[in-house]
Subunit: 172 residues, 2 copies
Amino acid sequence: MTSPVSSKSDPATEALGFAAHDHDHCVETAMAAAEARCNAEGLQFTPVRRKALEILLQEHRALGAYEVLDRLRDAGFGSQPPVAYRALDFLVANGFAHKIERLNAFIACAHPGTSHSPVFMICRLCDSVAEASAGPTRGALGQAARDAGFQIERTVVEAEGICPACSEKAQA
Amino acid sequence: MTSPVSSKSDPATEALGFAAHDHDHCVETAMAAAEARCNAEGLQFTPVRRKALEILLQEHRALGAYEVLDRLRDAGFGSQPPVAYRALDFLVANGFAHKIERLNAFIACAHPGTSHSPVFMICRLCDSVAEASAGPTRGALGQAARDAGFQIERTVVEAEGICPACSEKAQA
DNA sequence: GCGATATATGATATGAGATAACATGACAAG
DNA sequence: CTTGTCATGTTATCTCATATCATATATCGC
């Protein structure tokens, strides 16, 4: 894992997945949405958890647990691994973030609120990650599972390849 | 990772994925096929690599790199992690084995020879893993990638849930 | 065959990801 | 006010993975 520290362009207009967007705005929106849903569902949106989500949203890329931990420490929280893992577990369990198995890293959910089986596209050159939403058990996997009598509870769907931006760069 | 040491029934007729089969035969067949393909393509099917594949085929479940390493050491090969990782990398790179990202573990390919994007079903109760073959970029993922202009090179598709055998046990 | 180059193996050391186990603090229910 | 639950924090340890350097074995061009 090389962590190329994603070359940033304009702090307020980076790539979300592979499309430009207003970053500050999306962070605010997502935090507000999380806030609201925690209130609605009686979840404890505690300071560490809030900060962890904020970190993931700000970076807008997949972060390792220890990267999150570093930032949590900087923010005055505990400095030991369980601190980060517990906050991340909470975020993942409640759909505010996802774990990218291929990278052993975590990323803020790009479609908060929506109940979904996420699908990820991971650029192997710039490590950017885009989240798409897919029908839960349609397609080949669902069919294979039905044929085998397997009850799917959770799916991991991750594609590795080259994102549009890196693809253009390579051609130039 | 609890490693429940998969409860075995008859050594020669265990579960491949979720279906019964003649285990000894499938090991022989797979080894012969690997042998043949390495010859055909000029790949060096060296003793460590051969042994590593044999280990995965014999166990017929997902093994961590260090479990493979233990067995390689027992067989007289080097005892340091890179020994196992290099052998496994070779097997994965050439399609003789796959890495299950969700488990950080490796499993022998169940469809050797066929060029394929594998799809896995992982039982969270007994840790058994079944491999199904799926069209490479059809379905939701392929569509999302095309929409985004993302070039897929490799896909990870893993479903976690309950296998038929454990499902029956649970009902009893 | 013979030497040059590439490929494979081996050991050392360390980096990176993850969790078990235990202690403390906040808070609500009884 | 005490008991139970949940969140936080720390220590220690475990598992997974790779960079690096040294040595050996193939393979290819001559």
